[in-house]
Symmetry: D2
């Protein structure tokens, strides 16, 4: 029951890494919205394996077929469903995974959860491939948000311990490797290449900011924007932490440093700093919603690892074959944007109930 | 609509800092469970202001009255509602808050959200006081979890930049100031005292571990344990970040370091390390669920701060009167436990649907 | 988990017939709405036992205490909780109900459901008394609907086989016994009196119409207005059927009779008849939403009845003591209005998300 | 947001009458369940147009393609999605529907709801065609229920005012026209043929019973079995009423008649009659769950009808072309079974949370 999200716009993701197709249904999109499918495809392409140095060699075209919900290019009020056919299924690669779970993957927990009935091929429903339908839904929400003056910027804040320099700005928007400091970006790529050369992998941190969101989004307590964004972002495989504004660093600050002073700017209330990440009491201040997401290193590595044979219940050594990304952080950037876009758009629809006309 | 949480056990929190009462309704508790109200009270007392050096002087007795749902000390299957009367309301302290929002508080966002109709007294529904009903619900879930062999340990991992030493163990259970290293605890208290002396405040990090949770809790994607725990923990005021297992540190590790090797122990599959925090693919491994929560420094400080007069729309200086906690981290520890207990118990009930009998 | 309802305004009902209190929490009320508590009380009084001929002698004052959510008479955006203390608890009356379930009551199903831990006193959470908090929530929604030009009229369509005559109009609004034909009303009262004299009871049908609801409320399929209204109205004890517009009679009509012709009236699209009950495809047409609710005869009767002793597992005879309503239909009228008001208001809030400004 | 249903097993229906495909996603199916796809197809065929006298001539093969969720014929724990391609789309038939709504259809309400952006072709998302994915989900639930000893029987209780005779039994199970009295069935067919000859249509009532459901399903108040079943059954187009057990007839009975006496049978508590339809207090008694559903006459008729031209805002005459079912009641029988199966299975999963092992 975990593959759905949202109260006002509801997404339902389906599919496994090697099922006939994967896809998403979005219920609750306003009717009459024109979708730019070419723009959506460009967004999806950002998730696809790009340069050869840090991506898997498996080809994923990821061109969605929209089955319903769109008439003449406009949403019609009915649920929109889009699917992507899985072309090059090679389930034989994964035959042994059921008995010998890969460390860091969901193989073992899926085995327990589904009592051995899970689709083990390619990670099944737990595969990173399932972020493609997430990006379809998120890409659509991004278009709708843009019409309300809300847009998203993001960057790779660190990879393998190498941090970007400078502040996140819109400068990263069109970069294939989105960092502020290209010099640091080069060091990150070097870290990826080094990991690849050693059959290893690296993780990283993604920073994201939602610009233009009005004050007043989110609800108190469990309906706060932090809750809503975290509840969807942790749905991206490999995410292990999230922080808003100064986040963990705020925990070491004094109140007098961390508090964001209010001020007037062009007749509008702003905060002079944004340590709170644009959220106070769960509700947006009107400043950018800023958050960082920690991505663990890809668990697929070429090293020999220790595992357990669940059939014979013996300790065994495991070597995972095939080609894998030494770092998924660059590809995770649009996934984090997609997830946040869905959360923000859902909150925006909720907000419409409240505003007096 | 944000004050409810849970799919299988549903909590609904109500009340404002200075309303007649605050409370919680819990729907979905199994019938026939004996609740130990004395034990619940001891749990609630952990949240109450304890030692004089780091707590507010406002007296909060927080003895809940159970209005329904309990017959002869046992749950009866009907919703359980408990309330706490608000005794010493002093709304006059807060008269100016509506026009001049305090930095770091929800005053401004509540004003925008509710168009000026919010209860500004004491932070209203956004007040930390509303963690009392959260702790009632969580304290009850903790008792039910204990019957399934699941318990929770936690510690203050850092305050004001001073970190605890050593690994989290059950040694902290009965300590009024729960740290592993009492020497470090002394330094933390000193940091609090220093902040108090300067009219300032400090934040910190709380580490929590759920012991004894079986493998198989949680659902894929948005129903994962990280999603579920984050979605409730961010409901505690002042929480700005959460990480599971190695969390943000994992982002700087290699896959070969971060992956947790599987091994057999007493015929049971375990992981040799627990960088994943007991969660893979959103689903519990059977190892402790470990997570850290970042608490920002209390925004209430005695310093003069910059704000805006929303009536006159002018920049103003603000000095917040009254006595306030220079550090809420010690009192937040049971709140984090309560929140996690509700999330884990909710997932445990969900799991019961699945297990073949 | 059944005691909550609503997606955009969420009500949570709690309490048992003889618990310390019963009540309701309403989350999602717009902030800044003035509530007229005297008017609410008048609405609640309609549910209270009125004339001596058809009502129980138990006194129920039902004056709610509002614990939170209201500041200076206005909603503040936080959940509103109202409770009613249970004054004259006499649990000894009900001691035997647990072992010997009363026919037509929930005693047996509660016993099975909650494995003997249920609160058997007075029907516990299944008691008709729990319609008081439903009426609190519904009475509030009625006030908010009135501000949008939406109001509700209803009548007793039949009691004990005696049908009212004429069409439902606003003429019934101020009648203590709301029927169009007072002559028929007299016959209904006679039927009630006859049942009372024989230690028996009668049921009836309530007709309700929501006037002034705009076209466009409700969603396709499971979100339709019929689904939404039915899902809450069946929460009133003793309701066993619901039909919209011509309902079951439509099943015997020809399409050419049943179809409602569209026409223009004052530049607005109307239907010349309203067999569809103001709902097509689940969505309101702008004509009155009309529905009828079947109420079974009160199961509490003075006759000796057959039951089973669940302790000894033997067939036994049962005679239920105490005084009971020979007919709850008049008191159920405001309950049906309350339920429908909540459903319509929830749909109205949902609709606000969609309308382009 | 109305096209989803269920708390423990969640169905999401998508598609329009003339979109590329229609389908359903089912999230929450237990893993490891073998599905008999041939049996599912036989169930779906019951919904397809059967005999020439009462069905549309449009060919609907309705062979679903299962995109995911099934591995080697067994559920794998991931959401199951099945689609049916729409083959013979002829959108040109429906060009005028947007400006001139057909009486009795959702054309007008869809126009208002979606502000003209709706898919008008063939009724779009409101089309009866969307009951095909409902039947896929329901057919799967029926298989899972059968493994728990729960099965469903149903009959046409009336068509066009002609009622079936006798009590509903399993005798109707294999009949293409499911009535107890075949003589009455012939009269019903004659009523259909007469309506067809006159370019008109007829409606009817479907009776359904769920056999073998254990006592204890359903929750109090809004979680009752009546609420749950009504909330999904009204999702079938043309349903205008539902009653449980004696239903509206109970409203005219005395309590002494309507109350179902408890008795022991083979050591098990039963009721001697079943006027309550197997549900007391919203919770199953262990007796058959019985309910009747009113289906209005098909709104599509050949007669000239009155409508409105929404472009010119003038009253107009409308004649709907094409071939249409003069009676959808026979095809609605499996739809009602499907809907009820989903509701009962969802409640059965909920119940698993509660039962002590």
């Amino acid at each position: 029951m975990g593959s759905g999200y949202g109260e006002n716009v509801r997404i339902s993701i389906f599919g496994q890494s090697h099922s006939a197709a994967i896809g998403v249904t979005i219920d609750g999109l306003p009717a009459g919205e024109t979708l730019d499918l070419a723009q959506l495809q460009r967004f999806l392409n950002r998730r696809a394996p790009g340069g050869k140095e840090y991506a898997t060699a498996r080809r994923e075209s990821d061109v969605p077929e929209i089955l319903c919900g769109l008439v003449g290019g406009r949403t019609c009020g009915a649920p929109l469903t889009a699917i992507i056919r899985n072309g090059d299924a090679q389930p034989q690669d994964y035959a042994a995974l059921k008995s010998t779970p890969r460390p860091g993957h969901a193989d073992f927990t899926a085995q327990v959860k589904f009592d051995g009935a899970q689709d083990a091929a390619g990670g099944g429903h737990f595969s990173g491939r399932l972020t493609a339908p997430l990006c379809i839904a998120g890409g659509i929400c991004l278009q709708l948000l843009a019409r309300e003056g809300i847009r998203m910027i993001s960057r790779i804040a660190s990879i393998g311990g190498v941090s970007d320099a400078g502040e996140l700005t819109e400068s990263t928007a069109d970069k294939p490797f989105p960092v502020v400091s290209d010099a640091r970006g080069e060091q990150m790529r070097a870290a990826i290449a080094a990991a690849r050369a050693e059959g290893d992998s690296v993780g990283g941190v993604i920073e994201c900011a939602v610009l233009g969101a009005p004050a007043g989004l989110g609800e108190p307590m469990f309906g706060g924007m932090e809750n809503r964004i975290a509840a969807i972002v942790f749905g991206i495989p490999a995410v292990k932490g999230i922080e808003f504004g100064a986040g963990f660093a705020a925990a070491a600050m004094r109140g007098s440093e961390n508090n964001d002073a209010f001020a007037l700017q062009d007749g509008r209330v702003v905060t002079k700093t944004n340590h709170c990440g644009g959220i106070l009491g769960g509700i947006t201040t009107g400043m950018p919603i800023r958050f960082c997401t920690a991505i663990k290193p890809t668990p697929s590595i070429a090293h020999e690892q220790e595992s357990v044979d669940l059939d014979t219940m013996q300790n065994v050594k495991l070597r995972v074959g095939g080609r894998h990304d030494p770092c998924i952080v660059p590809r995770a950037v649009p996934c984090v944007e997609a997830a946040a876009a869905i959360a923000v758009y859902d909150a925006l629809l909720a907000r419409r109930r409240e505003v007096r006309k």
